[in-house]
Subunit: 218 residues, 2 copies
DNA sequence: ACCAAAAATTAGGCTTGCCTAAATCTAGAA
DNA sequence: TTCTAGATTTAGGCAAGCCTAATTTTTGGT
C-alpha cells in the first residue's frame, strides 16, 4: 500500500500527462502546491520504486505500474464523487474536495459496493470518465467549447472540476454534462463565446469556455 | 485540525478512561499497537497541546478540550459504521475497520448528511451510543452478560466491536442489540454461561459473555 | 524497610515529506 | 555562439511518529 503522498503525485502526473506529454517539476509543484525541490525529491523516490521514469532536468513519465496505481486512485476519486452526488445529494461543486480525501481510504470492498449501488457508472458528476475495474480508461473524442465555430451545436461532455466556484457559476447557467449547447458567436482576439443553452443565451470568457469539453450531437 | 495519530490517541484514551479511570502508558501501548516509549512521546505532546494532563509515571487523563475531540472522532466512527451497515449493507463485523479510516477524513458536512439520511441514530450497529452533535454522550446503565444470575432475562444492549471474528460468531448465534436473552445457567469457577436466545440454547465462555452488555427488559 | 520486577521515561535513531537557500543545468535571445 | 533567465537539483533542516536500548521510578512481596 502506497502513502497518500505517493498516490497524489501519481494521480497528478497522470492528469498532467493526459494534458500533454512530459511532466515538468514546475507543473507538478504548482498542481500539488509544493516546492519544486520537494517534487524532485519525490520524483527520485518514485523512480526508485519503478513507478515513474525520471530523466533529470527533463521531467517524469509514468511506468505501466505507476499508471495502474494512478488509475486506481482516479477510479476511487470519481466513484466517490458520483456516490456523494447520487446517494447523499452533495452538490457538484462540493464533491471534489471530499473525494480528494476519501480516495485514499476507500477499501476495494467499499469501492465495489458503491459501484453496484450506482449501477456501474462510466462518468462522474463532471462528466469525467471513470476508469473500469480492470484499469481501462474510456477515451472519448472531445473538443473544447472554446474551439467551436459560430453556428455549431454540440453536447456538453465534461466540465473541469478544479475550481469549485466556477462549477457553481456554470451550474447556475445550466451547464452540465449531457446538455445541448449551440454556439451563437465566437468573438475574435480571444473574445467571449456566446452560447444558447436551455433557450437562454450567455457569454462566456474564452478561458472558461476552454474548461468545457463537448462531444458531437447524437 | 489534528493529525490522525492525535485523533487515534485521544479516542483510545477516552475509551480506556470509560473502562476505568487513569490511563496507563502500557494500556495505550497495547490498544494502539505501539511501543511504550512512543506513547510517552505522544503523551508529552498532547499535554503540551492541553488535550491531556500527563502525570509522569502515573498516566494521562483527558482535559475537557481533549474529551471534546475524542467525542467528535467517536461520533464520526459510529456514524460511519451505521451508515455503512444501513446504506451499503456492510456486515457488522466489517464496519469497524473501515470506519477506523473514514473517521479521520469525514467532513462535518458529510457527517450531517449521513446523520440525516439515517434519521439521527443514537447507537451504532454494535449498540454503542453515538455522541450527539453537541458532544453529549448518552450514558446507559448496563451490566455484563457474564454477571447475570441463572434465571435472569435481559436485552442485549451492546457488543464489543474490537474483534471481527467474535462478531461473526455472535452474529451466527443471533446475538445482536435489542434481542432478548435469558441466562439458563452460569457455571462457577469462571465457567461458561448458558443462554437461551431466539429459542436456542448456547454456552458462551465467561470472557466472551463479558463482552456483551445487557440492559433491563422493557 | 528493602529489593526485585514491572512500568515508564530518556536517549538516540530512522523514515516520510516538506521547506529554504545555494548551486547547477537548459534553452532561448541576441 | 554566447549569455542569461528560468527551471531543476543539491544541501541542509525541520516536524511527526515510530522504534530499540538504556535508565529511572514505582510498587508489591517479604
Ligand atoms: Mn488526494
Ligand atoms: Mn470530477
Ligand atoms: Mn483511526
Ligand atoms: Mn461500533
Amino acid at each position: 500500500m502506497q502513502t497518500k503522498a505517493v498516490e497524489d503525485y501519481l494521480k497528478a502526473i497522470y492528469e498532467l500527462q493526459a494534458e500533454g506529454g512530459k511532466v515538468s517539476t514546475t507543473s507538478l509543484s504548482e498542481r500539488l502546491s509544493v516546492a519544486p525541490a520537494s517534487v524532485t525529491g519525490m520524483a527520485k523516490k518514485l523512480a526508485k520504486m519503478k513507478l515513474v521514469v525520471h530523466e533529470p532536468y527533463q521531467g517524469v513519465e509514468l511506468t505501466p505500474a505507476g499508471e495502474k496505481i494512478a488509475l486506481e486512485v482516479i477510479r476511487h476519486h470519481r466513484l466517490v464523487e458520483s456516490y456523494l452526488a447520487e446517494a447523499l445529494g452533495v452538490p457538484w461543486d462540493k464533491v471534489h474536495e471530499e473525494a480528494d480525501q476519501w480516495e485514499h481510504v476507500l477499501s476495494e470492498e467499499m469501492e465495489d459496493l458503491m459501484d453496484d449501488k450506482l449501477g456501474y457508472p462510466t462518468s462522474d458528476p463532471h462528466g469525467a470518465p471513470i476508469p473500469a475495474r480492470d484499469g481501462t480508461m474510456p477515451k472519448a473524442d472531445l473538443r473544447r467549447l472554446s474551439e467551436l465555430e459560430a453556428g455549431e451545436t454540440a453536447v456538453i461532455a465534461e466540465v473541469s472540476d478544479h475550481d469549485a466556484e466556477l462549477l457553481r457559476y456554470l451550474g447556475e447557467l445550466g451547464i452540465f454534462p449531457h446538455v445541448e449547447v449551440r454556439v451563437i458567436s465566437s468573438a475574435p482576439f480571444e473574445g467571449p463565446v456566446t452560447i444558447r443553452i436551455n433557450g437562454d443565451e450567455h457569454a462566456l470568457g474564452r478561458e472558461v469556455a476552454g474548461y468545457i469539453l463537448v462531444g458531437s450531437l447524437r
